[in-house]
Amino acid sequence: MSDQLNAWQLILNGDAALYAIVRLSLAVSLSAVALAAMIGMPLGALLALTRFPGRPVLVVLLNAMMGLPPVVVGLAVYLLLSRSGPLGAFGILFTPAAMVMVQTVLIVPIIAALTRQTVEDLWVEYRDELAAMDVGPVGRMATLLWDARFSLLTALLAGFGRAAAEVGAVMIVGGNIDGFTRTMTTAIALETSKGNLPLAMGLGLILVAIVIAINAAVWGTRAWSERQAG
């Protein structure tokens, strides 16, 4: 990326490096959201519908983990994936896969905790009907998750927001390698450290614009779907 041009000129000229960075950022964060949803939603629903000793402690912990410091998670995952660490043989460190992994860890608590609250609230309403229809435990989870889908979409957006904004963890496990693991946020950090503040700010505005666009798209989809499904 030429340091002389400002961010807007880069967009207009279709700067390949900029587009590669945007693509990578979206790919990493969206993949993390997808993975975190697959793990976090059933987990949240399970926690909402079951009762066991120590459950309140687990709920509090899950809520607290929404605020996990990204650098701490980054460090922990780095030590796991390092060649000297337990998962080193897979060679995932300093690749986008490691970045997806660390962001997934960060946002599973958000999605799980919000799912738990949403499903628990809905369960109060649905409990008698589902019992009367003799729906089993798995069916209950699936039905509540599907019926809560519009609220859960907000949980997914919260997770995406966290992932897209994060810089510490992906810097540590990704290494901010030019052309390979450089995302919008790590690029902004780099340009700032090079004193290239206008470019860094421009990149920041592009990132914000993209996140707004995604939220708008989700809003539109939700509005359309709600018209279909009531």
């Binding site: 340091d3 693509r23 990578l24 790919a27 990493v28 969206l30 993949s31 997808a34 390092s82 060649r83 000297s84 660490g85 080193g88 897979f90 060679g91 995932i92 460190l93 300093f94 690749t95 986008p96 896969a97 997806v100 290494g175 901010n176 390698i177 030019d178 390979f180 693991t181 780099l190 700032t192 450290s193 090079k194 004193g195 290239n196 503040l197 779907s225």
Partner: protein, 273 residues
């Protein structure tokens, strides 16, 4: 609608798969280097030339020298390229490196506000530092075990100042890279020791300029080492050695000398022949 989403997810995973872990056939190496070297823009200039010639992709992780060497100690890099000779030799003695080669040098410069509150402009480095300490003028330190930080500490020592005991609120250790240190010095109107390469390519100079330079004690030597494959069999020794060999070859050295900003050469090749 659900078909759309499954296609979307499939597309996402393909995008990620393109960045999947390196397979045996993939020609790339991980080089642990320093933020100052990266911030100077040298790699952006040097590496495409190397890759075009050899087809080897070089992935640079830029950290402080201490962190870079630690990354290699964990086996997460194939080559280290840093500038702190004492730390490098310790690394070698511990058996983590194969052989150390001098590659290039640049120099450090003392940066300060144009107003020069401590009045050190043009002095030699020892006097300048002593004056800064006596005047308690604001001074930003890297504080991150980097090559620059090591050099700074060595300079305080040479001046006869035990910085660990006499540092006060004027001495601000930020624990970050060179660019961050320069940004901070700019914001605080403080003095800071920087390598010339980063300084020349730095875009936020603000009210700062060079106050001391050219002192022989400000010499900054860069060295390169292949990480020892006997410690870590996963090290790509042939590809890594190719990179090391190229850096110290006539062609590599000439390329280093060819890197200029604003017509100024930043690094001076100095492989021992």
């Amino acid at each position: 609608m659900s078909r759309f989403w499954s296609l979307a997810f499939a597309g996402l995973f393909c995008a990620i798969a393109n960045g999947a872990p390196a397979s045996a056939a993939d020609r790339s190496i991980v080089v642990a280097s320093t933020t100052s070297t990266q911030d100077s823009g040298l790699f952006g200039y040097l590496l495409p030339i190397f890759t075009a010639k050899t087809g080897i992709e070089v992935k640079v992780i830029a950290l402080g020298t201490g962190q870079a060497l630690d990354t290699a100690r964990r086996g997460d890099a194939d080559v280290v390229f840093v500038h702190a000779k004492a730390q490098e030799q310790k690394f070698l003695a511990e058996g983590f490196g194969v052989k150390r080669y001098d590659v290039m040098y640049n120099d450090f410069v003392l940066i300060g506000p144009n107003s020069d509150p401590a009045g050190v402009k043009g002095k030699d480095i020892a006097t300048a530092l002593k004056t800064i300490q006596e005047e308690a003028a604001p001074f930003v330190s890297r504080g991150d075990r980097s090559g620059t930080h090591e050099a700074e500490l060595a300079l305080w020592k040479q001046t006869g100042i035990d910085i660990a005991t006499v540092k006060g609120a004027w001495y601000r250790e930020i624990g970050q890279g060179m660019g961050a240190a320069l940004n901070t010095a700019n914001a605080m109107n403080a003095y800071v020791l920087s390598d010339r390469g980063t300084w020349i390519s730095f875009k936020n100079k603000g009210d700062l300029s060079i106050v001391v330079e050219g002192d022989k004690r400000l010499f900054n030597q860069y060295g390169v080492m292949l990480v020892n494959p006997e410690k870590f069999p996963s090290v790509k020794k042939e590809l890594g050695q190719t990179f090391v060999d190229w850096l110290i070859s006539g062609e590599g050295q000439a390329t280093i000398a060819g890197y200029k900003i604003g017509g100024q050469q930043l690094f001076f090749p100095d492989v021992e022949r």
